[in-house]
């Protein structure tokens, strides 16, 4: 009969490790903070691009290539953020489709 006994715990390893991991998470950045910081950074890029265009169009103080580069920076970082957002939504919808 001993052979049929399931040894070890049935709980997933993450639950057992939650104590120290949970404490650790409090000290580190959690996901929503990271995401918020990323969005803030991308917003900064967008504002920089806007400022560069204004400088070129109104004061003529910046050269056009700097404005274009600022625009491209904003464009690529925004696309990267959209990619992250798509992945998150995909995962969420996958969970919502789960059979209960």
């Amino acid at each position: 009969m001993n052979d049929l006994l399931i040894r070890g715990d049935l709980m997933p390893p993450s639950i057992g490790a939650e104590g120290p991991a949970g404490e650790k998470q409090g000290g580190e950045k959690n996901f929503s903070t990271v995401l918020r910081d990323a969005v803030a950074d991308i917003n900064k890029f967008q504002l920089n691009a806007e400022e560069a265009i204004a400088k070129v169009q109104l004061d003529n103080t910046t050269s056009i290539h700097e404005a274009v580069i600022a625009l491209e920076k904003a464009d690529i970082s925004f696309r990267a953020m959209m990619q992250v957002r798509n992945k998150i939504l995909e995962a969420y919808q996958e969970i919502m489709r789960m059979q209960v």
Binding site: S63, H65, E66, I69, E72, K73, I76, S77, R79, A80, Q83
Partner: protein, 140 residues
């Protein structure tokens, strides 16, 4: 973000090549200028470039491998060209006029070189951008 290093380098290249173009245009425009606020004829100007490290860019282990470019100095030519033209208002007692020592053909080639280098920087920028966008398509 790591592709920003390449953008910075391209940006410095664009700025310096544009400056070269401006200096070449200035030399061409002043090819016959005999009066300047400093006195004497216009002096031919030459751009001197130097490389400088990229601020907080690239891989830290190979930080010194990539360099940006910047204008080190704009040097003025000392020589002037003496042309015999007694009817010119700026002619000296012997009838010679001090004119800038500028060869328009050389200035044109300088302009073409600057334009081509600018185009090369734009191409490098575009390549970097398409690389970054290709990365986003990964796993789709």
């Amino acid at each position: 973000m790591d592709f920003l290093t390449s953008f910075k380098i391209c940006s410095s290249g664009l700025a310096t090549q544009r400056a070269r173009m401006e200096v070449a245009a200035s030399n061409l425009a002043n090819v016959e200028t005999t009066r300047t606020p400093e006195g004497g004829p216009y002096r031919k100007k030459t751009v001197v470039l130097s490389s400088e490290p990229v601020p907080d860019g690239f891989n830290t282990a190979f930080k010194d491998a990539v360099k940006m470019v910047k204008i080190a100095a704009i040097v003025e030519e000392k020589n002037v060209k003496m042309a015999h033209d007694p009817s010119h208002p700026d002619a000296d007692a012997k009838g010679f006029v001090a004119k800038p020592d500028i060869n328009p053909v050389l200035e044109m080639t300088e302009m073409i070189a600057a334009g081509r280098s600018y185009e090369a920087c734009v191409t490098a920028f575009d390549a970097t951008k398409s690389m970054a966008l290709k990365t986003l398509e990964m796993g789709r």
